[in-house]
């Protein structure tokens, strides 16, 4: 369900907060009702969320939803028109230097000088911080050791991306803000990067992850703010988001040729947990409540029918994404929660 979309009146900007000692469970990032326009374009209308220490927090949404603008306000690259952002008790604008000591950023579409070598870039960025990480170890973890003496312009897209992740982490940050982390990486490199991010989180770093990849968000994120058209439409765990839009599992199966599927369909419709049964291309498509899978299989077994090619559909984050974001894409999106099209109700 969409949360409130009504922007609240802007809070007065308090001349407050030295970096204060935080309560143990205090959020490390709190974004309150921020809005940001570029000229006539309202990139962010009303975004609020809180990030807890040690979690991987996803900012998910369609292209142009305002994800990057939102995290750029956290990194201090942009000033909100209205609303407030607090990071580690700091104001990203006023306490910029202190913020940048403790928050590492990976920006979308930001390159390095063409002739800088991988090793030089890591050494350079390490020199910016008081207690930097070991650049060689980072390079090792990100598979950049072989490219240590390669100039930036000669790196592949994936290598550039991994170097940019390394630079966001080389300062040993408390928070890492990663914008489109795995764009341009091949499948193996994506998985390696996910493992690295999980390892970094396990070492105590809080991670804010901007992404438009469902699998990435589902795999990595503890919680997700789903942003659409500059507004947070939902904040929840990936599973929590998925459950919001889909009633339960759905099931596809085949029977052997000598079984009359229409008769089976009638039989199954009589079951308590089954909501609908359809026949599609010789396949039975069953939608139902919690225990539908077990009940259907047992009912079939009782009739001596063996199901083949059983496929169980679980509601996914992608379903939630499609249902909760309404940015027009031109293409007709499937109805909310429908994993398989219902032919018969």
């Amino acid at each position: 369900m969409p949360e409130t979309r009504r922007p609240e009146p802007t809070r007065p900007h308090l001349p407050s907060s030295r970096p204060t000692p935080e309560a143990p469970d205090a959020p490390v990032i709190s974004v309150r009702h921020v809005a940001k326009a570029y000229g006539a374009k309202q990139a962010v209308r009303d975004v609020s969320f809180e990030v807890r220490r040690g979690e991987i927090f996803g900012v998910l949404g369609p292209n142009g939803a305002g994800k990057t603008t939102t995290v750029e306000m956290i990194s201090g690259l942009r000033t909100p028109d209205t609303g407030t952002v607090q990071v580690l008790g700091l104001d990203p604008q006023r306490d910029a230097v202190e913020l940048h000591r403790r928050v590492g950023s990976q920006l979308q579409e930001s390159e390095l000088p063409p002739r800088i070598k991988v090793g030089e870039a890591l050494a350079l960025y390490a020199s910016f911080y008081d207690r930097p990480a070991d650049g060689r170890a980072l390079a090792e973890q990100l598979g950049l050791t072989a490219s240590w003496d390669t100039q930036f312009r000669a790196l592949s897209g994936g290598q550039k991306q991994r170097l940019s992740i390394a630079l966001a982490l080389v300062g040993n940050p408390e928070i890492a803000v990663l914008d489109e982390l795995t764009t341009g990486l091949d499948p193996q490199a994506r998985r390696d990067t996910w493992q690295l991010i999980e390892a970094v989180r396990d070492s105590g770093v809080t991670i804010v992850l901007v992404t438009h990849f469902m699998d990435e968000a589902e795999r990595l994120c503890d919680r997700i703010a789903l942003i659409d058209d500059g507004v947070v439409v939902a904040t929840d765990t990936p599973a929590g988001l998925a459950e919001r839009v889909a009633g339960g599992p759905a099931l596809r199966l085949r029977t052997s040729d000598d079984v009359d599927d229409a008769q089976v369909a009638r039989l199954l419709r009589a079951l308590d947990t089954v909501r609908s049964v359809a026949i599609e291309n010789g396949e039975l498509v069953i939608d139902g409540r919690r225990d539908v899978v077990v009940e259907v299989v047992l009912a079939l077994a009782a009739q001596g029918i063996t199901p083949y090619d059983v496929e169980v559909g679980r509601p996914s984050l992608e379903d939630a994404f499609v249902a909760l974001t309404r940015t027009p894409t031109g293409a007709q999106t499937p109805a909310a929660g429908a994993l398989f099209a219902d032919v018969e109700a």
């Binding site: 690259l77 928050v103 390159e111 000088p113 630079l167």
Partner: protein
């Protein structure tokens, strides 16, 4: 300080990895001087038709101060602003602004590198000119040195102003070239010393590189103090530095 040192060393290495920097900033003044002296006919003949002030000098001698001015122009109008156009275009400055080190340190590092390149270029040209062309020594070395210093400061300031504004490499190169060639012209690269017509020389004396060239020429061959040219360079400096500082965009 550690950050600035690492930044300067890293930027310097990258500077030297770019062959066009090495050629234009470091070698071009020397190459031009030697080509003029060795290839253009008549350059090594004594000047006879320009009055007593230039008696005993050869045409090539007149090029010594001009080549110093050219070296200033090359560094400050070509290699220096292009770095910032490229860094802005590629988001290098933006990325730096998310670190605790201010992006302005890149400016400090680049100024240091380009000043060093200018010194190397000038020493190379003078040593080569002295050894291979037996160039005349300056009459008033202090006036030459002072004029060179002030000239370099105002030209670097002009470079900073361009660097402050250019959004990408293409514009940086375009603006740089648009200023570079007219300035070389005013500096006397095509019409050295007394060969430049009176009116043109007067106009040239108000341009940054023209003033630098004339002031160094006076120090090299004359006996007077090039007061007007020094004032002009001082005025450019006072105008350009605050303007560049005010207009600089760090992202």
């Amino acid at each position: 300080m550690r950050a600035l040192t690492t930044l300067t060393v890293t930027e310097a290495r990258m500077y030297l990895r770019d062959p066009s920097n090495v050629f234009f900033a470091l070698a071009f003044p020397t190459v031009l001087l030697l080509l003029l002296g060795r290839v253009i006919p008549g350059m090594l003949e004594p000047i006879t038709d320009q009055g007593p002030a230039f008696a005993g000098l050869r045409a090539i001698d007149l090029f010594a101060p001009i080549v110093l001015a050219l070296a200033m122009g090359t560094v400050s109008l070509t290699t220096f602003p292009a770095v910032f156009g490229s860094y802005r275009e590629k988001g290098v400055l933006r990325r730096l602004s998310t670190t605790p080190v201010p992006a302005s340190r890149v400016l400090v590092a680049q100024v240091a590198i380009n000043v060093a390149a200018l010194v190397v270029a000038v020493v190379l040209a003078l040593v080569a000119g002295g050894l291979m062309l037996s160039l005349a020594a300056p009459e008033q070395p202090l006036v030459v040195a002072g004029s060179f210093l002030l000239g370099a400061v105002q030209m670097i300031a002009l470079g900073c102003l361009i660097a402050a504004l250019v959004p990408n490499t293409a514009v940086a190169n375009g603006v740089g070239m648009l200023l570079y060639f007219p300035m070389l012209f005013f500096a006397g690269v095509w019409m050295p010393g007394p060969m430049m017509p009176e009116t043109l020389a007067r106009i040239s004396g108000f341009t940054p590189l023209g003033a630098a060239s004339q002031a160094m020429t006076e120090g090299w061959f004359g006996t007077g103090l090039p007061a007007q040219q020094l004032l002009v360079m001082g005025a450019w400096t006072v105008l350009l530095i605050p303007l560049a500082a005010k207009l600089f965009r760090w992202r």
